[in-house]
Symmetry: C2
Subunit: 498 residues, 2 copies
């Protein structure tokens, strides 16, 4: 007979191992000397295997069944145990050897991807990527699926998500986005110099980023920011949630808006209930919901008129040489430029989703066994030509640009677009429910918005499935129109045809 | 039936967990936000408990006995297995609960020590310190000892070391050091301003430290330097050996000589055989031998005439305002000032050992049950008065100055003095064996010295017990006279009586 406290301490021990693994990863991307790669990869693999072994042990099963058979659980306790059972049933399908092999292959592929990036040569990365694809296909088989292997992986990041649903959602959003772009008058942009693409000193950018993080509500007592090649957020506990950023001296947009993006992720993690550390109710609802938080802060707060009103005067003071003669309107336009480009992380709010859809189509074909790693480059380049009208000049600006596949993450990219669509719907709800939200934001007061997110989304952890959470927060299921309406409203004003 | 490869992979898995724990520690001291302390302490405790459980498992015992009963081991393989059996027999005496309780108490005590440092008030730290003392006494009982409990802890850091031996060694060294100091003419020092105690800009100090580390042979491809309140060296694998330092703007000595000290530790770790990762032959011989490497580079290389010859001209260029008008002789004297002071880490080469002896006497009394944590402050202050003639003005410059007890490390301090004594003996041997060593050092060429250390000490890992290693390298057992002769030779010239 087990007690709930046995369950908690068992799950928290596993969380301790997972957090150590997370730190091994963070360090690898932020501070580890190059030479440490091989042993680090072994260490990550060992710890990943151990956590998996602990979680899929007979002990876990016994604890869960013993608790669910009893009548001593409160509502939230029962929900935790039920969700853990669901996780258990999912994870028990993989054995420890497979998990360790996959972790090793991922570390090796990550290092190879870095090497390929340095050589700007996709061919360097192909064998390792093929290994990861093969492992992901095996994983899908072990996890089981109904319609297609790719569904088994989608389900890992967004419980219940299926490719059939995405086909419809992405088809609709692609058509509506392409329509919307075609309605805009973008010709003026070509001639206007972009005020964000000047030399902005590194340290001054960094300082502004820190101030911005603080202003949005990110707590430095339980967090910190570092530099990494690819910005990310990672939590070692609800009391230690870190963000990273990168600074490009010739592009002010990169660091500042990545700070807001990662702040959105981090505010979510810092808002999860501390006392539920290691338990489902202390975990985010899904990757799509996670991304909704980053997009909400990056786009709905960060690319708004109110943001310009609050921050532009200060930016003019901090960067008088760059912005002294720039008008707020020009700055607003420059943070909302619409232009097809090659790099997903630098894409505008509209074209962004075409980048995601390309990745979705490619990885789905891989996982379903229709193409091999060697064929992906041509496929990638053809799709960029078709969807965005762009020729890909080299691999670093093409198929090597994203780290996700090197991490073995297939089925992850779609959650980015889901996140944007959720963000629009959540922000619409927040605007309706919070009286005077716009006035708050125009004064740089983000407290009530954050509180609303905390109460309606963050504090619930994984209590609800993502779709149910969306309905609970907004009154309806995911509806692409909130995003399209928001985008049309903003961009058709900004780029009105004469 | 187990194979040697089973032994290796079992031990390396444990090493992986220990390295993750080491990273949790490094991060805690270097980058972790304050709020992360509580969960971090839990994570460290869990991983320490797991590593202990894995190592003391029946599986370990079975592997070891199966291998030792067979005849398939090479000489080095057998040595590894024998040493592991010795470790196993030592560790199996503690149970996992105790190890976890101790790890938790250590993390809590560390945080409390930090708090006490901030308040400059030893009383804040007393309850946690008493807990650690009680746990250490329990540990000594579990580990067993012949003469006194303190011996069981000494043995952890320096296999075979006993308090009775230290009484003799420390008694002799204390008398000889006090004699030597009394022979020196230190009156001139009082009036001469110390060229090292000026304002040296932080960044310029840091840059010089990095150059120095490189020059000594520290490999940044498998290492890095960061800032921490207390400099230390830590290895996450032979390919990832990190050092930390601290920079005081008003004291040039602190950072530069701590860099050389930590470089000595790190060169040792980087010189351990990579293929023996996680095995005894890939581990340092003892803490005393470890410290011999740091002291050799810090003192015998770093506080020498040859160091001044090589580096002083460059320092004059880097710090013209501070050193432009200083003579090499004055600089040499200032890096070799003899003066009793309150802080161990800032002590000169002679008084240093009095600091260690005070700690040795105090912690021995604690562990043997003769004094309690509450009484230590008075004891400390009385001994500083008696041995160094100093009044301790406050706790931060007194009993709170060192982190070791907050880490639960009792029996560790003596290895510092052992290290200095070994260093003198090793350096004497190196001078005899390496033709033209002095000329090399005068040209800033440290390669042959490092190679000699690598071949005679580093590459052997734990193959020999520390005493045997000393005999193998120098032809005799530890002999305090090498240190005394070295010190007399240097200081009686520098501070000759008229």
């Amino acid at each position: 007979m087990y007690k709930y406290t046995d369950y908690v301490s068992h799950l928290q021990r596993i969380a301790d191992v997972n957090c150590a693994t997370a730190l091994l990863h963070w360090d690898l991307e932020v501070y580890m000397p190059k030479g440490g790669a091989a042993f680090r990869s072994q260490q990550i693999s060992t710890l990943a295997g151990m956590a998996h072994e602990m979680f899929t042990s007979e002990k876990t099963q016994k604890i869960l069944h013993s608790l669910l058979d009893g009548n001593n659980l409160s509502g939230p306790e029962r929900r935790n145990v039920e969700l853990t059972l669901w996780d258990y049933q999912r994870e028990v399908k993989l054995d420890k050897d497979f998990v360790e092999r996959q972790a090793t292959a991922r570390s090796e592929a990550f290092n190879k991807w870095m090497e390929a990036r340095e050589a700007n040569d996709y061919a360097v990365f192909v064998p390792q990527l093929q290994t990861l694809i093969d492992l992901a296909r095996q994983e899908a088989d072990m996890r089981r699926y109904e319609a297609e292997p790719y569904d088994a992986l989608l389900d890992l990041y967004e419980r219940g998500l299926r490719a059939a649903f995405l086909d419809k959602l992405f088809g609709e959003s692609r058509d509506k986005i392409i329509d919307l772009v075609s309605e805009l008058n973008l010709t003026s942009l070509v001639e206007t110099p972009n005020t964000l693409k000047q030399q902005y000193p590194k340290d001054a950018q960094w300082d502004f980023g820190i101030e911005l993080l603080k202003a949005l509500g990110y707590d430095f007592n339980t967090g910190r920011q570092d530099i990494s090649p690819h910005p990310f957020t990672i939590a070692f506990s609800p009391q230690d949630v870190r963000v990273t950023t990168r600074v490009k001296e010739d592009d002010f947009l990169t660091m500042t808006w990545s700070c807001m993006h990662e702040a959105g992720h981090a505010l979510y993690e810092q808002g999860l209930p501390s006392e539920q550390y290691g338990l489902p109710l202390g975990t985010s609802a899904s990757l799509g919901i996670h991304e909704s938080q980053s997009r909400l802060w990056e786009n709905h707060v960060g690319r708004s008129r109110s943001f310009v009103k609050v921050w532009f005067p200060e930016l003019q003071e901090r960067f008088p040489e760059n912005l002294g003669d720039v008008t707020p309107d020009a700055f607003y336009r420059d943070i909302n430029r619409i232009q097809p480009n090659l790099i997903r992380t630098e894409a505008d709010e509209l074209h962004y989703h075409l980048h995601v859809i390309i990745r979705y189509e490619i990885e789905r074909a891989c996982i379903n066994g229709n193409v091999s790693a060697g064929e992906l480059k041509d496929l990638w380049n053809a799709k960029y030509k078709e969807y965005l009208g762009l020729d890909v000049p080299d691999d670093n600006r093409g198929i090597l640009q994203d780290v996700h596949w090197a991490h073995g993450s297939f089925g992850y990219f779609p959650t980015y677009s889901l996140g944007s669509f959720y963000a629009a719907q959540f922000y619409h709800a927040a605007s309706n429910r919070i009286n005077g939200l716009e006035e708050d934001l125009e004064q740089g007061n983000y407290t009530r918005l954050l509180d609303w997110l905390r109460q309606n989304i963050h504090c619930h952890g994984r209590e609800l499935l993502p779709g149910d959470l969306c309905r609970a927060v907004t009154g309806e299921i995911l509806n692409i129109d909130y995003f399209i309406d928001y985008a049309r409203d903003k961009y058709s004003t900004l780029y009105a045809r004469d």
